[in-house]
Every structure is written in C-alpha cells, then in structure tokens.
Amino acid sequence: MVTGEAPDRGGRYGRVFARYEGLIPDFPGFLAAVARPSPVHLRVNTLRAEVGGVAAALAAQGVVTRPEPWCPFLLRVEGEPPRALGATLLHALGLIYLQSASSAVAALALGARPGEAVLDLCAAPGSKTTLLAQAMGDRGAVVANEPNPRRLQSLTANLDRLGLTAAVVTGYPGQNFPLGRKFDRVLVDAPCSGEGTWRGPRARPQPPSAGLRRHLARQQGALLRRGYELLAPGGTLVYSTCTYAPEENEGVVGPLVAETGARLEPLGVELPAEPGLTRWEGEEFPPELALARRLYPHCFDSEGFFVARLARP
C-alpha cells in the first residue's frame, strides 16, 4: 500500500477523475498516488540472462533494483535511474525490457505454457507478447497481431531485440482476425482511453468525449468477441485495458459473459487489487465480474489497469 499524501480534489487530477470519486476506494489516496510518477520496472529476459547477473550489472551502474515478490524476474527500480535504461547495452541486447508492473500482470494472468498456441490480438509494441513468449520458454507459437503499420514496426523491432523464435507477426484488424484455427490462449489488451497511464506531473491527460468512449467500447466489444471466437474449448482469454472507465471494462466483458456463458476465473496472480464492478450508474453486470481485478495506483504502485480472465467451457 502506498502511503497517502494530502489530496487535491480541486487540482488537475481531481477534475480529470471526478467521475470515479464514488467508485474508487480511498479516493484521496488515489489522487495522491496519481500525482506521483509511476515507478520504473524492467523485466529480465530470462531466456538469455539471469536475474542476479542483470541486477548486479545495473547495480554497478548505480541502478538499484528489487524483484517484485509476485514476479521474481520483474525488477522495480528504486528511485530515479541515474541514466536512461533504454540506452544501455543491456536493453540494446534484449536482456531487459522496460515494462510496467500492471502490464506484466495482464500477460501473466493468461498463464501461457511452453508448447501452446497463443494469440495476442492487439500486440504492439510487444511488452506483453514478449512476456508471453518468455513464459513459454520460447517454445510453442505466439501469434502477435497488430493492424497499425507504424506500431507493427515497434512490435517487430522488440521481438527481434529479445531474440524470440516462437513469434509469428500478422497485421489483421483484430475484430476481423480470420476464424478457423483455434488458440489455447488469447490476450485481448484492447486500445482504450488510457486513463491508467495518467500519472505524475508530466502526464497530459486528455479525457475522452462521450462519443469517443462509445466508439472505444464498441471496438473493444468487437475485439473481445472475436478473441473469444478464436479460443479453443477449455482455453483461456484475458481481457485488459489501462483505463478505469467501466464502460470500457465491465461494460465490455459483461455482455460477452451473459451471451456466451464464458466463465470468469481468478487471475492467479496475488496482488493488492479491487474486485471488478457488478454495477455502475444504474447498469448491472454479471456478479462473477467481481473476479476481475481493478489495479489502482494507491493499492498497486503502477499504471491503472483492468484485467479479467475468462475460460471457454
């Protein structure tokens, strides 16, 4: 738990997040946390390096790290790094990947195992894709899909940098990804309003209009539906966003659960997080949505995230 500071309800973040005052527990603590920058995390590419060796190499450069207890190869950087970690040889060689803790949670929740076929429907820039391949020991298939050509470049550059051999990169609009072959696991980390990334003094929050929120929710629903259609019976799907907006989270997962019988499951990653909502502004969601998790920066010091794990019966 992050200790709270004097909240500023009338400040910039107080205005931006006012709609969530009745939704987020300890709202003053939340405002105090989002006013601080998110801590830097880096993931050790255990396919090619050992955690201890990387930590020692960083320590020799004055970068103090400690592993997260729920993910030993994810290192939290203590304080301000003395140099840009993205400009180190460790990074250039693909031995580390800068990744927020919340992003790692979403990928780990999928539970990918060696030899499986996994689809990452919205893959760029590849932070979760590369973690999935790492969790699979680079054995199996990780189909990394990204329709945006510019974002596709960053995805392939990161796959290349980490030296992965299990990845196959495709460029379909996610909601039109071809049906036919079924996957053991599917990750739908959907494009969203990005509210969870708004932290610290340098963030430039751009609250979405009601129209944009509706558009995002429609797109997210289409992506989730296609991801579920591509899932083999007995398979697992994770839906995640980096936003607090219920319309983009429970409001997207709820209808799929109600219509298909998809079963919500615990994430399997023990974290200080809040349960998913079962109602919001007069709308009721299936009660199982309480198994989803909302990551808030004052409870889990990283980006704000929503993560739901679904099983296909």
């Binding site: 004055g62 140099r83 040889l89 076929a117 298939a141 072959r181």
Partner: protein, 157 residues
C-alpha cells in the same frame, strides 16, 4: 513477403557450417524450423510452423542469417546473440573499453585468423565482428548501437 521452408538437406548444411566455424552443436540448428524470407534465413520454434503457414505473416521468428551473394549464409548479430551461447570457436572476449571502441567504429589491433567472429563481453554474446589484417572490427547493427550510451562507471552491460 514470400517465404520458403528450408529442406532437411539445407538445414544440415547450415548446421555443419555453424559447427565447423563456431563449434555450435548441429542439434542446436536442427532444433528450429528454418524459413527463407528475402535475403534472411529465419529460425522459428518448430511448434510455430503451422501458424506461420496459416497466415500471411509480416515476420516470423528470428533473422539469424543473411544470404549475400555466393558466400553463403552469414550469421547476423541478432543470430549471434541467440546462437552464440553454444559457440566454442572463433569467439572473441572483449572488455568494456574495447567494446566501446568497436561500437564507436574503431578497429582494434588483434591477432587471429581472418574471418567473422562472435563478440562476447562479460560472458554474453553481443554480436558479430570480423578479424582482418591483424585488426578486429565490430559489425554490430545500427539498431544495437544508435541509442547506446556507456555509463560513467561500472561494466559495459
């Protein structure tokens, strides 16, 4: 981009070449599915092959070799970073100062038979170099070096 799978004979030649030149056990190379995409030979986890065949993929696996002219496949720096851990021959260990020089485009006086070598620092394969006329030259790709800044203290890594 069109791609074609290497047949077992081609994979065998690749494996023998890596064994003769760098001492990499043949089973390392034979453990991947290999696909030719343009000038690149890409290593793919064998379980991923049906998925690469099912979709028009824009990238598959790791670009481990480049085919240039008649000289045969040339190990890329990315390929060296992944496959280099099994190399037992033609591996050059360089310290931080030497690596810094190679990254900055300088050549270093270095004895040894001419030809490509795998550069290693602090036990980690970092990429390709070449020995020529008593000098070692770095062949690390710009994608590796362009943003690189060495720290004021501590090791190169």
């Amino acid at each position: 981009m069109s791609h074609a799978w290497l047949d077992p004979e081609e994979v065998g030649r690749l494996a023998r070449g890596m064994e003769e030149w760098f001492g990499v056990p043949p089973e390392v190379i034979e453990g991947y599915a290999w696909v030719r995409r343009g000038e690149a030979l890409c290593a793919l986890a064998p379980e991923a092959r049906p998925w690469a065949e099912a979709y028009p993929a824009s990238a598959v696996g790791l670009k481990a070799f480049k085919e240039v002219g008649a000289a045969g496949p040339k190990l890329t720096s990315r390929g060296a970073q992944v496959l280099g851990r099994w190399a037992t021959r033609r591996v050059v260990d360089v310290g931080e100062e030497d690596l810094r020089g190679l990254v900055e485009g300088r050549s270093l006086p270095w004895d040894g038979p001419r030809g490509p070598v795998i550069l290693r620092t602090q036990g980690v394969a970092v990429g390709m170099g070449v020995l020529r006329d008593g000098h070692l030259l770095g062949q690390l790709p710009r994608s590796v070096t362009e943003h690189l800044q060495f720290g004021q203290r501590g090791g190169a890594l």
